[in-house]
Symmetry: C2
Subunit: 123 residues, 2 copies
Amino acid sequence: MYERKIPPSLNCGLDLIGEVLYGKWKIRLLWFINEGNKRPSELQRKIPDASRRVLNIQLNELQEHELITKVIYPVVPPRVEYSLTEFGKSLIPVIAALGQWGDEHQERLRSVILERLEQVTGQ
Amino acid sequence: MYERKIPPSLNCGLDLIGEVLYGKWKIRLLWFINEGNKRPSELQRKIPDASRRVLNIQLNELQEHELITKVIYPVVPPRVEYSLTEFGKSLIPVIAALGQWGDEHQERLRSVILERLEQVTGQ
DNA sequence: ACAATATGGGAAAAATTTGTCCCTATGCAA
DNA sequence: TTGCATAGGGACAAATTTTTCCCATATTGT
Protein backbone atom coordinates (compact mmCIF):
# COMPACT_ATOMS: atom_id res chain seq x y z
CA MET A 1 0.00 0.00 0.00
CA TYR A 2 1.22 3.45 -0.86
CA GLU A 3 2.31 5.53 2.09
CA ARG A 4 1.49 9.22 1.87
CA LYS A 5 4.35 11.63 2.32
CA ILE A 6 2.31 14.79 2.30
CA PRO A 7 -0.40 14.99 4.97
CA PRO A 8 -3.89 15.86 3.73
CA SER A 9 -5.62 19.15 4.48
CA LEU A 10 -8.57 18.50 6.76
CA ASN A 11 -9.71 22.01 7.52
CA CYS A 12 -13.24 22.30 6.24
CA GLY A 13 -16.09 20.11 5.07
CA LEU A 14 -14.89 20.33 1.49
CA ASP A 15 -11.46 19.02 2.46
CA LEU A 16 -13.01 16.14 4.36
CA ILE A 17 -15.43 14.99 1.73
CA GLY A 18 -12.69 15.38 -0.85
CA GLU A 19 -10.51 13.03 1.10
CA VAL A 20 -13.03 10.18 0.97
CA LEU A 21 -14.37 10.80 -2.55
CA TYR A 22 -11.14 11.64 -4.30
CA GLY A 23 -10.31 8.75 -6.56
CA LYS A 24 -11.14 8.39 -10.20
CA TRP A 25 -13.91 5.84 -9.77
CA LYS A 26 -15.14 6.14 -6.21
CA ILE A 27 -18.21 8.21 -6.86
CA ARG A 28 -19.34 5.88 -9.60
CA LEU A 29 -18.70 2.87 -7.40
CA LEU A 30 -20.95 4.30 -4.71
CA TRP A 31 -23.56 5.14 -7.28
CA PHE A 32 -23.63 1.71 -8.87
CA ILE A 33 -23.59 -0.07 -5.55
CA ASN A 34 -26.54 2.04 -4.54
CA GLU A 35 -28.30 0.95 -7.74
CA GLY A 36 -27.95 -2.63 -6.61
CA ASN A 37 -24.78 -3.72 -8.38
CA LYS A 38 -23.24 -5.44 -5.44
CA ARG A 39 -20.77 -7.89 -6.86
CA PRO A 40 -17.27 -6.88 -8.00
CA SER A 41 -17.79 -8.43 -11.43
CA GLU A 42 -20.97 -6.42 -11.94
CA LEU A 43 -19.18 -3.27 -10.97
CA GLN A 44 -16.37 -4.07 -13.34
CA ARG A 45 -18.83 -4.50 -16.16
CA LYS A 46 -20.47 -1.20 -15.28
CA ILE A 47 -17.14 0.63 -15.30
CA PRO A 48 -15.20 -1.03 -18.11
CA ASP A 49 -12.77 1.87 -18.43
CA ALA A 50 -11.26 1.13 -15.04
CA SER A 51 -8.87 -1.70 -14.42
CA ARG A 52 -9.94 -4.47 -12.10
CA ARG A 53 -7.08 -3.60 -9.80
CA VAL A 54 -8.03 0.01 -9.11
CA LEU A 55 -11.61 -0.87 -8.50
CA ASN A 56 -10.44 -3.27 -5.80
CA ILE A 57 -8.17 -0.67 -4.30
CA GLN A 58 -10.84 1.98 -4.28
CA LEU A 59 -13.43 -0.41 -2.90
CA ASN A 60 -11.05 -1.16 -0.06
CA GLU A 61 -10.62 2.51 0.67
CA LEU A 62 -14.36 3.12 0.63
CA GLN A 63 -14.66 0.29 3.10
CA GLU A 64 -11.94 1.68 5.35
CA HIS A 65 -13.74 5.00 5.27
CA GLU A 66 -16.89 3.16 6.36
CA LEU A 67 -18.95 4.11 3.34
CA ILE A 68 -19.47 0.50 2.25
CA THR A 69 -19.35 -2.94 3.80
CA LYS A 70 -18.18 -6.15 2.24
CA VAL A 71 -19.59 -9.61 2.75
CA ILE A 72 -17.62 -12.62 1.58
CA TYR A 73 -19.60 -15.81 1.07
CA PRO A 74 -17.42 -18.86 1.67
CA VAL A 75 -18.23 -20.59 -1.59
CA VAL A 76 -16.28 -21.52 -4.66
CA PRO A 77 -15.99 -19.71 -6.94
CA PRO A 78 -16.00 -16.90 -4.39
CA ARG A 79 -18.97 -14.61 -4.06
CA VAL A 80 -18.62 -11.13 -2.63
CA GLU A 81 -21.20 -8.44 -2.08
CA TYR A 82 -20.73 -4.80 -1.25
CA SER A 83 -23.42 -2.62 0.30
CA LEU A 84 -23.65 0.97 1.37
CA THR A 85 -23.51 1.67 5.08
CA GLU A 86 -25.94 4.21 6.50
CA PHE A 87 -23.09 6.67 6.32
CA GLY A 88 -22.61 5.84 2.66
CA LYS A 89 -26.31 6.13 1.96
CA SER A 90 -26.32 9.63 3.37
CA LEU A 91 -23.96 10.56 0.55
CA ILE A 92 -26.30 9.45 -2.20
CA PRO A 93 -28.33 12.66 -2.43
CA VAL A 94 -25.11 14.61 -2.82
CA ILE A 95 -23.90 12.32 -5.58
CA ALA A 96 -27.31 12.54 -7.19
CA ALA A 97 -26.94 16.31 -7.23
CA LEU A 98 -23.58 16.00 -8.95
CA GLY A 99 -24.94 13.61 -11.54
CA GLN A 100 -27.97 15.72 -12.18
CA TRP A 101 -25.92 18.82 -12.81
CA GLY A 102 -23.72 16.81 -15.15
CA ASP A 103 -26.72 15.47 -17.02
CA GLU A 104 -28.40 18.84 -17.30
CA HIS A 105 -25.28 20.35 -18.80
CA GLN A 106 -24.18 17.36 -20.82
CA GLU A 107 -23.81 19.03 -24.17
CA ARG A 108 -21.96 22.06 -22.96
CA LEU A 109 -19.68 19.93 -20.82
CA ARG A 110 -18.83 17.58 -23.63
CA SER A 111 -18.11 20.54 -25.83
CA VAL A 112 -15.82 22.41 -23.44
CA ILE A 113 -14.00 19.25 -22.44
CA LEU A 114 -13.37 18.19 -26.01
CA GLU A 115 -12.31 21.67 -27.07
CA ARG A 116 -9.72 21.80 -24.35
CA LEU A 117 -8.48 18.33 -25.23
CA GLU A 118 -8.00 19.33 -28.85
CA GLN A 119 -6.06 22.40 -27.84
CA VAL A 120 -3.75 20.38 -25.67
CA THR A 121 -3.38 17.57 -28.16
CA GLY A 122 -3.15 19.92 -31.10
CA GLN A 123 -6.25 18.41 -32.74
CA MET B 1 1.30 21.32 -20.83
CA TYR B 2 0.80 17.67 -20.15
CA GLU B 3 -0.73 15.73 -23.01
CA ARG B 4 -3.14 12.98 -21.98
CA LYS B 5 -2.41 9.53 -23.27
CA ILE B 6 -5.55 7.89 -22.00
CA PRO B 7 -8.80 9.45 -23.22
CA PRO B 8 -11.33 10.35 -20.54
CA SER B 9 -14.63 8.53 -20.05
CA LEU B 10 -17.48 10.84 -20.96
CA ASN B 11 -20.43 8.53 -20.73
CA CYS B 12 -22.70 9.94 -18.06
CA GLY B 13 -23.23 13.10 -16.08
CA LEU B 14 -20.93 11.87 -13.34
CA ASP B 15 -18.10 11.36 -15.80
CA LEU B 16 -18.60 14.82 -17.23
CA ILE B 17 -18.72 16.72 -13.98
CA GLY B 18 -15.78 14.68 -12.77
CA GLU B 19 -13.76 15.80 -15.73
CA VAL B 20 -14.14 19.49 -14.90
CA LEU B 21 -13.98 19.24 -11.11
CA TYR B 22 -11.24 16.65 -10.77
CA GLY B 23 -8.20 18.44 -9.46
CA LYS B 24 -7.08 18.75 -5.90
CA TRP B 25 -8.05 22.38 -5.44
CA LYS B 26 -10.64 23.17 -8.09
CA ILE B 27 -13.71 22.90 -5.93
CA ARG B 28 -12.21 25.13 -3.30
CA LEU B 29 -11.12 27.62 -5.94
CA LEU B 30 -14.68 27.88 -7.23
CA TRP B 31 -15.98 28.20 -3.72
CA PHE B 32 -13.63 30.97 -2.69
CA ILE B 33 -14.11 32.85 -5.92
CA ASN B 34 -17.82 32.69 -5.30
CA GLU B 35 -17.23 34.13 -1.85
CA GLY B 36 -15.62 37.14 -3.46
CA ASN B 37 -11.95 36.25 -3.34
CA LYS B 38 -11.18 37.27 -6.85
CA ARG B 39 -7.46 37.91 -6.94
CA PRO B 40 -4.86 35.17 -7.27
CA SER B 41 -3.01 36.34 -4.18
CA GLU B 42 -6.20 36.21 -2.13
CA LEU B 43 -6.87 32.69 -3.32
CA GLN B 44 -3.34 31.66 -2.48
CA ARG B 45 -3.77 32.99 1.03
CA LYS B 46 -7.05 31.10 1.34
CA ILE B 47 -5.47 27.85 0.22
CA PRO B 48 -1.97 27.94 1.70
CA ASP B 49 -1.49 24.18 1.32
CA ALA B 50 -1.44 24.45 -2.45
CA SER B 51 1.53 25.72 -4.37
CA ARG B 52 1.18 28.89 -6.39
CA ARG B 53 1.93 26.94 -9.52
CA VAL B 54 -0.90 24.41 -9.27
CA LEU B 55 -3.41 27.06 -8.43
CA ASN B 56 -2.48 28.84 -11.64
CA ILE B 57 -2.72 25.63 -13.61
CA GLN B 58 -6.08 24.74 -12.16
CA LEU B 59 -7.41 28.26 -12.61
CA ASN B 60 -6.43 28.02 -16.26
CA GLU B 61 -8.30 24.77 -16.62
CA LEU B 62 -11.39 26.15 -14.94
CA GLN B 63 -11.23 28.99 -17.38
CA GLU B 64 -10.84 26.70 -20.38
CA HIS B 65 -13.84 24.78 -19.12
CA GLU B 66 -15.74 28.08 -19.01
CA LEU B 67 -16.48 27.97 -15.31
CA ILE B 68 -14.60 31.18 -14.58
CA THR B 69 -13.42 34.24 -16.46
CA LYS B 70 -10.26 36.19 -15.98
CA VAL B 71 -9.79 39.93 -16.28
CA ILE B 72 -6.29 41.35 -16.44
CA TYR B 73 -5.97 45.04 -15.57
CA PRO B 74 -3.04 46.62 -17.37
CA VAL B 75 -1.46 48.15 -14.30
CA VAL B 76 1.76 47.64 -12.42
CA PRO B 77 2.02 45.67 -10.27
CA PRO B 78 -0.39 43.50 -12.25
CA ARG B 79 -3.93 43.08 -11.04
CA VAL B 80 -6.01 40.09 -12.05
CA GLU B 81 -9.54 39.17 -11.13
CA TYR B 82 -11.38 35.93 -11.59
CA SER B 83 -15.16 35.63 -11.57
CA LEU B 84 -17.61 32.81 -11.97
CA THR B 85 -19.42 32.58 -15.28
CA GLU B 86 -23.14 31.84 -15.21
CA PHE B 87 -22.17 28.26 -15.93
CA GLY B 88 -19.84 28.28 -12.95
CA LYS B 89 -22.47 29.86 -10.73
CA SER B 90 -24.85 27.04 -11.53
CA LEU B 91 -22.37 24.71 -9.87
CA ILE B 92 -22.38 26.52 -6.56
CA PRO B 93 -25.43 24.79 -5.09
CA VAL B 94 -23.84 21.44 -5.86
CA ILE B 95 -20.60 22.43 -4.18
CA ALA B 96 -22.59 23.78 -1.27
CA ALA B 97 -24.23 20.37 -0.92
CA LEU B 98 -20.82 18.70 -0.84
CA GLY B 99 -19.52 21.12 1.76
CA GLN B 100 -22.62 20.78 3.88
CA TRP B 101 -22.38 17.01 3.96
CA GLY B 102 -18.74 17.32 4.90
CA ASP B 103 -19.51 19.77 7.67
CA GLU B 104 -22.38 17.70 9.03
CA HIS B 105 -20.17 14.63 9.26
CA GLN B 106 -16.97 16.37 10.26
CA GLU B 107 -16.15 14.35 13.29
CA ARG B 108 -16.81 10.97 11.80
CA LEU B 109 -14.91 11.90 8.66
CA ARG B 110 -11.90 13.12 10.55
CA SER B 111 -11.96 9.96 12.59
CA VAL B 112 -12.17 7.47 9.69
CA ILE B 113 -9.62 9.38 7.65
CA LEU B 114 -7.11 9.51 10.47
CA GLU B 115 -7.63 5.88 11.41
CA ARG B 116 -6.90 4.79 7.87
CA LEU B 117 -3.83 7.00 7.73
CA GLU B 118 -2.47 5.45 10.88
CA GLN B 119 -2.98 1.97 9.54
CA VAL B 120 -1.14 2.79 6.34
CA THR B 121 1.61 4.70 8.09
CA GLY B 122 1.87 2.21 10.92
CA GLN B 123 0.97 4.89 13.52
C1' DA C 1 -5.94 -32.92 -17.82
C1' DC C 2 -7.46 -28.28 -19.03
C1' DA C 3 -10.16 -24.23 -19.46
C1' DA C 4 -13.49 -21.18 -17.30
C1' DT C 5 -15.36 -18.81 -13.28
C1' DA C 6 -14.85 -15.21 -9.47
C1' DT C 7 -12.03 -12.65 -6.42
C1' DG C 8 -7.93 -10.47 -4.90
C1' DG C 9 -3.21 -9.05 -4.17
C1' DG C 10 2.10 -8.22 -5.18
C1' DA C 11 5.44 -5.96 -8.08
C1' DA C 12 6.75 -2.92 -11.28
C1' DA C 13 5.73 0.28 -15.04
C1' DA C 14 3.25 4.04 -16.87
C1' DA C 15 0.40 7.94 -16.49
C1' DT C 16 -0.90 11.93 -14.24
C1' DT C 17 -0.83 15.47 -10.90
C1' DT C 18 1.42 18.46 -7.80
C1' DG C 19 5.46 20.80 -6.01
C1' DT C 20 10.04 23.30 -6.25
C1' DC C 21 13.08 26.49 -8.16
C1' DC C 22 14.14 30.07 -10.94
C1' DC C 23 13.35 33.91 -14.25
C1' DT C 24 10.60 37.93 -16.14
C1' DA C 25 8.25 42.51 -15.71
C1' DT C 26 7.41 47.35 -13.53
C1' DG C 27 6.62 50.89 -10.53
C1' DC C 28 7.03 52.48 -5.56
C1' DA C 29 9.29 52.94 -1.04
C1' DA C 30 13.31 52.92 1.91
C1' DT D 1 20.11 50.80 -5.79
C1' DT D 2 18.03 47.20 -3.36
C1' DG D 3 13.82 45.07 -1.99
C1' DC D 4 8.84 44.34 -2.09
C1' DA D 5 4.47 43.41 -4.30
C1' DT D 6 1.82 41.05 -7.98
C1' DA D 7 1.28 37.74 -11.56
C1' DG D 8 2.74 33.91 -14.49
C1' DG D 9 5.30 30.42 -16.93
C1' DG D 10 9.27 26.95 -18.14
C1' DA D 11 11.83 23.01 -16.67
C1' DC D 12 12.33 19.44 -13.94
C1' DA D 13 11.62 16.66 -9.63
C1' DA D 14 8.69 14.36 -6.54
C1' DA D 15 4.44 12.46 -5.20
C1' DT D 16 0.46 9.99 -6.19
C1' DT D 17 -2.66 7.30 -8.80
C1' DT D 18 -3.75 3.99 -12.21
C1' DT D 19 -2.56 0.24 -15.27
C1' DT D 20 -0.38 -4.09 -16.66
C1' DC D 21 1.06 -8.51 -15.82
C1' DC D 22 1.15 -12.50 -13.29
C1' DC D 23 0.07 -15.71 -9.54
C1' DA D 24 -3.24 -18.26 -6.34
C1' DT D 25 -7.74 -20.66 -4.93
C1' DA D 26 -11.17 -24.57 -5.76
C1' DT D 27 -15.09 -26.26 -8.22
C1' DT D 28 -17.68 -27.29 -12.58
C1' DG D 29 -17.94 -28.54 -17.33
C1' DT D 30 -15.51 -30.36 -21.56
